[in-house]
């Protein structure tokens, strides 16, 4: 009982401070150079392969229930022949002030010590609140018990659970890879080095448009790029403080001078 009270009083002091969790171990961040991204979709497939995303088929896709945690949005401006096409990969933005996290009644989604917005699949009861609150529409729901047809289930990544019916899920920045890197670093008695953690999408990106790293490490590539004058964040006006940083596309706006 004494220990219990002590714990309460001790923690009260710490946790009354708003933003105490800014004292993070890491602040994983992804920098996406939109000028390099050519929209090829290799990252999308890498995500399917790494995270055991089910293939839902045509009918479910038609209902907008495709499972891609990471999608490439394509926006087209203008009419022929002045067509401007822009690509932007959108995945969970791991907001520091995530709207989804307040919504979950059971703490199935919360912020961890790595600055990640994480989802605990087994805790989820499926109230849909997080997905409704998410301004980026990146959360995906297990509408049914999706089956991996034999023997395609042999490709399932054992580091990631196969989520059951009724559970919300989303991009985790490949947290299993972060965990593996930390594990390795711990074995070797050091901290995680820059470039050691690569989410599947970053690893595969053929143009090298995606860079992943720790924002708290000032020497990391991502931290340097994050200071680029081209930096912006998606829907920044919502003040969700996302961890994904985009670098502006270099492109002439407006109609070109050629007829």
């Amino acid at each position: 009982m004494a220990g219990f009270l002590e714990r309460i009083t001790e923690r009260w002091k710490v946790y009354r401070e708003p933003g105490f969790f800014k004292k993070l171990d890491h602040k994983w961040t992804m920098v996406i150079d939109l000028d390099k991204c050519n929209g090829c979709g290799a990252c999308v497939l890498a995500c399917y392969a790494e995270n055991n995303l089910p293939v839902v088929g045509k009918d479910e896709c038609a209902m907008s229930r495709a499972f891609s945690w990471l999608r490439i949005e394509r926006y087209i401006d203008g009419e022929y022949p002045d067509v401007k096409v822009k690509f932007i990969p959108v995945m969970c933005q791991h907001c520091s002030k995530a709207p989804c996290e307040t919504g979950c009644p059971v703490y199935a989604t919360y912020h961890n010590q790595d600055g990640l917005n994480v989802q605990v699949y087994n805790r989820c009861v499926g109230t849909f609140t997080c997905a409704t609150y998410c301004p980026y529409d990146v959360r995906r729901f297990n509408w049914r018990s999706y089956k991996f047809e034999q023997p395609l289930d042999h490709q399932l990544n054992p580091d990631v659970t196969v989520r059951e019916m009724g559970v919300m899920e989303k991009c985790t920045f490949c947290i299993q890879r972060i965990r593996a890197a930390k594990d390795k670093a711990k074995d070797e008695g050091r901290t995680v080095q820059d470039g050691e953690v690569l989410p599947a999408c970053v690893q595969s990106c053929p143009t090298g448009a995606m860079i992943f790293g720790d924002l708290l490490d000032p020497n990391s590539k991502a931290a340097k790029l994050a200071k680029s004058p081209r930096r912006y964040r998606l829907l920044e006006e919502l003040n969700a403080d996302p961890s994904v940083i985009y670098l502006k596309r270099v492109m002439k706006e407006g109609p070109s001078k050629h007829g």
């Binding site: 919504g103 009644p105 059971v106 109230t127 980026y136 729901f141 509408w143 009724g166 559970v167």
Partner: protein, 442 residues
Amino acid sequence: MDRTITYKEASEDISGIITKTGWKYYAVLTLMAVSAVSFLFLPWAYQIYSGQGVTGLNAPVFWGLYLVNFIYWVGIAHAGTLISAMLYITQTPWRRAIARGAETMTFFALFLVSLFIFVHMGRPWNFYWTMPYPNQRQIWTNFTSPITFDVFAIGTYTTSSIVFLFFGMIPDLASLSHTATGWRKRLYTALSFGWRGTDRQWHLQAKACMFFGAFIMPLVVSVHSVVSWDFALSVVPGYAKTVFAPYFVTGALLSGFAGVLLMLSIMREAYPVMKKYVTAYHYDKVTIFVVVLSLIWSYLTLMEVVTGLYANTSQEIEHLKYKLAISPFSYLFALMIFSNSVLPLLYIFKKLRNSFFGRFIIPVFVLIGMWLERFLIVPNSLSRKFLPWMWHDYSPTWVEYSIPIGALFFFISMFMVFIKVFPIIAIFEVKEDIGIPMRKSH
């Protein structure tokens, strides 16, 4: 109130509603129960077995018909509380004959509210995780979540309503226990907790009722505003509106009053003896409330749209465009305005209030209109969120249509069982209404 009715007559009339049961009643009850099973429970079992995939919900539109019905029934529940609690405190005489019915409606509406929470969940078998209780996992609930607010608000509301309903019934049950026989007698005796009707008991009953009223009255405001925060606390265009709390509360009361009107009208038709106790006088009073609430509601609806337009952001404009013009359900907006803003105003004609039209048609339209209001807010806003790439329409499936309909049947069958067990009109309050017998009349 007809002052020529004797106390004995009143007692007999009302206990007659409980005891005199014809074959028609059983037929209707059976029909309702069977419908409830086939429309609600079987599809629900199917949905639990195969997952939320059987609904029309999809990636941006995660909240659909179930949540609409959840809010709707919370709204229906409100009039009961208002009539019984607020009007009790103000000692408004006309509440007496209709309060019990309204409270009963509240009780069963709240029952459906919990039902729809379960129906809309992805893993309803884990619903208890949303409630804070000591467990071996040492994990509690998130108190910043509007859903947790809901759990507390609706939990409190349900508990208070049950307490209020049964508390108010104690004198009646005691009175019934004297005449009833068999299991009824045992039930009434047990539930009357030894009520005798002494002056001290009456005195404390009055005081306690006053406190209940005082506690429950804030709930009228708080519960539906808490429900509105499920939406208003998000950032979704169409949800994040500061006007939502009063808007939802007003709408709730409007639909609740319409529900009370309709319920009373049906009961009166089914039990003509009730016409003695629920009279044109009551319709007069309740319809005035409907008119006033309808006017407030219209104003708030207008403001909801106008403030969106005034914001003039792409998000708000696209959302409004979709809601009013593009959505496959946009034509329902006109129906909503017609039934919630136009039709209730007809109640200003005194003749209409107690006519068939006023007793049945307008309440039905208001009930539909209020359902539409929630429907037009919930899925439509989600169809047009921030990133246009993810825009997607929502079309409910048969399961989603069937479960709310079944829930209505379930509501009716529960109500029908209730009126066969408990007095649907408060006997002692009706007697009070008739007047206390004095040798020298006042």
